[in-house]
Symmetry: C2
Subunit: 569 residues, 2 copies
Amino acid sequence: MGEKQKIVIIGGVAAGPKAAARARRRNPDAEIIMLERGELTSYAGCGMPFFISDMVRDYNQLFMTAYGVKRDAQYFGREKGVKLYTRTEAKAIDRDKKEVKAVNLNTGEEMVFPYDQLVIATGATPFEPPIEGRDLKGVHKLNHPEDALRIKEAVDTGEIERAVVIGAGLIGLEGADALFNKMVDVTIIELQPQVLPGMLDADIAEKLHQHMKEEDVDLSLGDKVLRIEGDEEGKVKGVVTEKRGFIECQMVLMAAGVRPNVELAKEAGLEIGKTGAIVVNDSMQTSDPFIYACGDCVENTHLITGEKVYTPMATYANRQGRVVGDNITGGNSRFRGVLGTGVAEIFEMKVARTGLGEFQAKEKGYNVVTALHTAFDRTHYHPAHGMMVIKVIADADSRRILGAQAIGKAEVAKRIDVIATAITFGAKIDDLHDLDLGYAPPFSAPIDPVVHAVNFIGNKFEGLATGISAKEFKEKVERGDDMVLLDVRTQEQFAPKHFEDDRVMLVTLSDLRERINEIPKDKEIITICAMGSRAYEASRILHGAGFKNVKVLEGGLNAWPYDLEFEKK
Amino acid sequence: MGEKQKIVIIGGVAAGPKAAARARRRNPDAEIIMLERGELTSYAGCGMPFFISDMVRDYNQLFMTAYGVKRDAQYFGREKGVKLYTRTEAKAIDRDKKEVKAVNLNTGEEMVFPYDQLVIATGATPFEPPIEGRDLKGVHKLNHPEDALRIKEAVDTGEIERAVVIGAGLIGLEGADALFNKMVDVTIIELQPQVLPGMLDADIAEKLHQHMKEEDVDLSLGDKVLRIEGDEEGKVKGVVTEKRGFIECQMVLMAAGVRPNVELAKEAGLEIGKTGAIVVNDSMQTSDPFIYACGDCVENTHLITGEKVYTPMATYANRQGRVVGDNITGGNSRFRGVLGTGVAEIFEMKVARTGLGEFQAKEKGYNVVTALHTAFDRTHYHPAHGMMVIKVIADADSRRILGAQAIGKAEVAKRIDVIATAITFGAKIDDLHDLDLGYAPPFSAPIDPVVHAVNFIGNKFEGLATGISAKEFKEKVERGDDMVLLDVRTQEQFAPKHFEDDRVMLVTLSDLRERINEIPKDKEIITICAMGSRAYEASRILHGAGFKNVKVLEGGLNAWPYDLEFEKK
């Protein structure tokens, strides 16, 4: 009789515990050891902002199972049959001897763990830009529950009037949101010209900027932090940026992204990818067949481009952990890749995205067609309805859907999940016109926003619609192009909110057929309404009457992310 | 130069107006005529229950566009370029002459409309079972906005203490819900042994029964209405049923389903299917190539079985209308079929389904495997989380997903839409384990309920899990099978809520490994917990210790739809 299989797992936060639990369920006899250098294991990192904002009141909730048991060494031992060593850092992997050298960080005791299969789930670490003053008291990151605890304690003193958040990625914005909810004024500094630069296209991001402005969130884009300044006690007193100069604040949150923890893998000679993360195949095996890796320390394959990407996400960590748990116990599971699907609620605005963004898709050489559509998430007469702007990105050559993004105080996540599912199966535009999604007034409209947006792309393919984006429209107006901004809403809708420009002409849709001769046939016409559908209808009427140069302002005024007055150039 | 294309559309509610509008956008020159026998057109039939319950306060909302314009003859004429004749009933189709004979119901004037393309969108009519007393005052149906108006007026008199609803399909339940919200006591009589018989599997329906019971909704299943009784003034005073005898009530809502309006098509010699609805191909063309049909009067093709089904739904009407609008103007669009996706909110409980139910799938000869899973719709620590029971139905031979159903005060519609999308592309279980759905705590869990449920089916395929349904479990317990009901929750969870039976044994999961010898190895073991995951974990521990006959109570106590006490047999 052979010895028991020995499985060693380095990392006890998300992917590691998942791999351990799954391996145990498949192999009751294996010896499963999990090493975690921190004190805490299997915590809900994504819950930290909600703990800061008091939405999650009990710190322990971040470490609990859904059935109220704390996930500590006792839990792993007794429920999962996994031997967990906390405060135990893996220092080296000897691939020939198949053993891991580790040290107990409390006692300094050195230990050696032989393995048959090794799992690296070492996660990621916040990137700390080399900014002067980053060691001052009051400078935080948000990577670990203890960070959240420290931030919350500081905020609860009542002494934090303003916090500066460096970085407008997901962690930066969620952290800013949490602080804002605790009545802390927030200034967000972002190097890129938009928030969530890795996630959203510029037009969708502009809608979020507009919303944040309305909420009095201070945002400095395309700006760079020069230094953090402290007082005599070594406490933060302000941040100096290129654009803003000195910003007084009592707290700084550094959220400049994360980097994969690959030192251990690198030193062991495992292959590291161009992304800087560990290379794995679709079995989650590293370049050493006895060593698997998963979670925030590995790179992923993009399902559309086939390229390697670094996309550290909790959901990938969990699903990859399960695949590893299968494969280290004789199973044959695959993690085929990612679409970069993401969703967030930021200052009560919901944003979601999947697949390639417009810019990414163009960069990859696709013949990109997009549709931007404004829609209600349920029937407009249902009181719970909310409005969203949804954008679909497709390839005109193959007609494949490449990606989608949505924003609104509405059920955007549902629509993006549907499109993510469709993309997974290589969906073409034509596959989605008659998609059988559930309809009832509290849930959707008879034609779901997904189908509407896809229909709009179909209309473009057929030459029935020509759109113009808000950005392009703004540029044309500001450079003084000779054109008609044809608003087709009613007088009552027009009066309180319309573009301030003398090229604007109001012809309500219902009057358009009889007033069509008033519209100059030789000029470029941009049709405008609230959500886009009347403008489209108007463009068809104009087209039918022989107008050749008609474009629809995509998504209408509800998708418009800028001021209604234009700059004169 | 040829004459203008003449398009005649019979029916002005949902599919008809959609076909008209789409045709107009594609062909600016066609003459488009729409005939509607009622006064009202293009109304939101699905909004009627919400109008009764005061959720939609203004009756006109049911006839408005999202931008606040009433969809009447003026709207169709001026905005859509469609000539609408209301109160005009089509009486006959002369296919040789290609003309429709119609009559103005107000004036009696007869009219003839020649067509190049004809569209039949005559909808459906409520089926009225031949019950004595169905003509009494106070007997309503809910098919037309005027029905809703009449019901609301009656309720608003304050004289309706109890209403009896005949039929527990979607319209019956939504109507009952609306009345209930207006403080009317409701008794629902259903011939079948469950509510929503065409929509839900029995186990999911049982959860809805349980909920309705908790809400004090009176439900009489497997019961038949014998007659409706009236007073001297001809007003309803009660209903007599087989099981209940006399039920005093002041209102009756007849909701025994609908039948397609096919007389006109039938008399014109068009093919009518076995379902009783008009036969169309996937271009929505009838057996006469110049005549199209769409909406509640046509039969659909089921995307999984390929069989013809009658599934009148507003969303199909709208999407089919668009396909017709394309095809009658030289386009080439397809409506490929339906999955019977449906969603509803009934007494604040959300239910959704798509594809085949378990029973349907078995009937069709599939080698059916199901998984019933209880899950939170977001992370359990997020205060907005809700619990759902989700069931996935798959074919063990092809591993294809055949259907799914879900119920809960949670975001069930999103999960069913994702699965509907996956089924559309012929998804196999193995395609969904690593589905890239958006995750953040306000929206989902790191492993989405869809993926969890699919993983559970995968576990069954691999032999890692054996489940037992609530129904089967109840039957076994009640017939006195010798087995152990092994509850693995904590003492604190067990104490307030557990099965009342002397075969119950409590061994908390964390103690199971050390107390395993207390459990009789020769008996059948059913593991039990709150949501199913600990019971599954326990089953793996027992299996690893050599237990051969272990089953998991699927979905745990949260999915349990019956009382906790068993009948002795």
